[in-house]
C-alpha cells in the first residue's frame, strides 16, 4: 500500500482508476490538513467519551487510563470535540505553538 498518491505512476493505476482494495482510506493522512490541534487537560477529563462519539472522522481513541486523545495522523482539527466536551478539558491550540 502506498503512503501517498505521489508514489503512483500511470502504470500503477487500474482500469478506470478503480480502487480495488477496500479499506485503504486508513492510509490517508488527513492530519496534515490541520491548523489547530486538540490538547486535553487530563486532570479535568472525566472519560465520558462524548468526543469519541462525536468525532466525524473517528480520529479519537481511548487511552489505557480511560481518558481520550486525538490520533493526529487523522485529526483535521475541526474542533467539534472541544466544542462538545462537557468539562471543557479540550483546548484547540494553533499548530504553530
Amino acid at each position: 500500500m502506498v503512503e501517498s498518491e505521489r508514489d503512483l505512476r500511470c502504470g500503477d493505476l487500474e482500469v478506470g482508476c478503480v480502487v480495488s482494495q477496500p479499506g485503504n482510506a486508513r492510509f490517508y493522512r488527513t492530519g496534515d490538513w490541520r491548523s489547530f490541534r486538540p490538547v486535553v487537560d487530563r486532570a479535568k477529563c472525566i472519560g465520558c467519551g462524548v468526543c469519541y462519539l462525536l468525532c466525524p472522522d473517528m480520529a479519537i481513541r481511548r487511552r489505557a487510563d480511560g481518558t481520550f486523545e486525538a490520533d493526529l495522523y487523522y485529526c483535521k482539527g475541526c474542533g467539534i470535540c472541544a466544542a462538545e466536551c462537557f468539562t471543557g478539558c479540550i483546548q484547540m491550540v494553533p499548530e504553530e505553538e
Binding site: E5, R6, L8, C10, V15, G16, C17, V18, V19, P22
Partner: protein, 390 residues
C-alpha cells in the same frame, strides 16, 4: 445474412440494439431521436426484448443510470440529441473516465439558440473532448451495422470505453431506407457476451469514480487519453471482421474518387452522399476533384487521413458547426492541425454549411468548389459561412 427490408432508419437502429440483446436502456425522448427509444420501449413492453427500459426524468438522469448499470455489468444503451446531450454533459465526461462501455446514438441536431430541432453537428462538437469513441455514419445501413460494431468495440476488454454513434437527425432518423438486417447467428459470432473489466459486486467491493488529488489527476487523464488512442487497432479489427461477415467493410477514413485528385472535399456524416454526386458531376467535366469522408472522429485517425490526402493540393472542409470567434469550423481546425507538418502542406478552405437543416444540394457543393478554385490564395484561417444572405 438476414432479411433486407425497407424501414425507417430509427426503427432499424432500435432493432439493432435489440439484436445486441441489450440489458438496460435508460433514455428520455427528444426530437429527432424519439423513434429509436420509443421503439425500444415497445419491444420491451411486448416482451420481444428482455431488458430494463428506464424512462428517466431527464437526460442528466439517463446518463447517470447508464453509468450505474454499466458499472453493474449490464449491456447499456441510450440515445439523445442536442439539448438532451447538453443536459447529460456532466455525466458524459465521467463515463469514459470510469471506462464504462455505454453505447449511445446521438441523433445530431443543432443546439439552441435560436431554438431549432433540425440537423447539424453543433451538439456533438460541444462534447468533442468528452473522451468517448465518436464516429459518424452516412446512411441507414451504416447505422444498423455500427450499433453492433459499437457494442463490440466498447466492451472489448482492451478498450472498455463508451462509443457514440453520430447519425444526422431527420436526414437519417426519419427516412425509410433499404437495410440488410443481420441474422441471429451473425450477431452471435460478431458480438461476444459482455464481460466487464470491473463490476460492482458486494462480494468484491471496489471504489469506482473516486476523487483524485492533484498528485494523481494528471496520471489518470494521461492513462485515459492513452486508452482512447489505443482503441484504434480494435476499431479497425472490428470493421474488418464485419467485412468478413457482411461484405461491408468500413474504414476510419473513406475515400471516393481520390485517384489523381488535386482538390478534395472532406465531409462527416450523411452529406458525404450528396457531395459524392457533386464530385461525379465535376469529374464528368474533367475536374480533378475527390472526396474524403471522416468516419472516425475520436480517436482522430491522423495516419489514415494523411495517407488519404497524399498528393492533394487543396482541401475543402465542410463543417456543420461554427467555433464562435475561432478558426471557423471544428473539423477544419483538426484537419489543419493534422496537416501542419506535411510537406508540401495542402491549402485548406473551410466551408460552413448545412446548419440547422438548411438544405445543401450537389449544385451548392459545385458552387463551393468554384468559389474555392476562384480564390487566388487561401489564408490558413479562411472560412466561408456558405449561403448566408448578407
Amino acid at each position: 445474412m438476414g432479411k433486407r427490408v425497407g424501414i425507417e432508419v430509427s426503427i432499424a437502429a432500435a432493432d439493432a440494439v435489440a439484436m445486441a440483446d441489450v440489458d438496460v436502456v435508460a433514455a428520455y425522448p427528444i426530437t429527432p431521436q424519439t423513434h429509436i427509444v420509443e421503439h425500444l420501449s415497445e419491444l420491451v413492453a411486448e416482451g420481444e426484448l428482455t431488458a430494463e427500459f428506464i424512462p428517466v426524468e431527464s437526460e442528466h438522469s439517463a446518463m447517470s443510470v447508464c453509468c450505474g448499470s454499466s458499472a453493474a455489468g449490464a449491456r447499456t444503451f441510450t440515445c439523445t440529441s442536442s439539448q438532451g446531450l447538453a443536459l447529460m454533459n456532466e455525466i458524459l465526461f465521467i463515463v469514459p473516465s470510469m471506462r464504462l462501455p455505454v453505447v449511445m446514438i446521438l441523433a445530431n441536431r443543432s443546439l439552441s439558440g435560436p431554438l431549432s430541432i433540425w440537423n447539424d453537428h453543433t451538439d456533438v462538437m460541444s462534447v468533442r473532448d468528452c473522451g468517448w469513441v465518436q464516429l459518424f455514419v452516412e446512411n441507414g445501413q451504416e447505422v444498423f451495422d455500427h450499433v453492433l460494431f459499437a457494442f463490440r468495440v466498447a466492451e472489448a476488454r482492451s478498450v472498455s470505453l463508451p462509443v457514440m454513434i453520430n447519425m444526422d437527425g431527420f436526414i437519417l432518423t426519419h427516412v425509410i431506407e433499404p437495410i440488410s438486417y443481420w441474422d441471429k447467428e451473425a450477431v452471435e459470432r460478431y458480438l461476444p457476451a459482455f464481460e466487464p473489466v470491473n463490476r460492482l459486486d458486494p462480494d468484491h467491493p471496489m471504489t469506482m469514480g473516486a476523487f483524485a488529488m492533484p498528485g494523481i489527476y494528471t496520471e489518470a487523464r494521461k492513462v485515459q487519453n492513452d486508452a482512447l488512442i489505443a482503441a484504434m487497432p480494435e476499431l479497425i479489427e472490428a470493421w474488418e471482421k464485419m467485412g468478413e461477415l457482411t461484405g461491408r467493410c468500413y474504414r476510419p477514413v473513406e475515400r471516393y474518387a481520390v485517384e489523381g485528385a488535386e482538390t478534395v472535399f472532406i465531409t462527416m456524416g450523411s452529406i458525404g452522399e450528396t457531395v459524392s454526386i457533386a464530385v461525379d458531376r465535376l469529374r464528368g467535366q474533367g475536374r480533378a476533384v475527390g472526396l474524403v469522408k471522416l468516419r472516425l472522429w475520436r480517436p482522430f485517425p491522423f495516419d489514415a487521413l494523411r495517407e488519404a490526402l497524399k498528393g492533394v493540393r487543396r482541401i475543402i472542409v465542410i463543417d456543420r458547426a461554427i467555433s464562435f470567434g475561432g478558426p471557423g469550423g471544428p473539423v477544419a481546425s483538426e484537419i489543419r492541425s493534422a496537416l501542419y507538418g506535411v510537406e508540401p502542406r495542402p491549402e485548406v478552405l473551410n466551408m460552413i454549411s448545412g446548419l440547422a437543416g438548411r438544405d445543401v444540394t450537389p449544385e451548392d457543393y459545385i458552387a463551393m468548389y468554384e468559389t474555392a478554385m476562384a480564390a487566388e490564395q487561401w489564408k490558413p484561417e479562411d472560412y466561408v459561412v456558405f449561403g448566408a444572405r448578407e
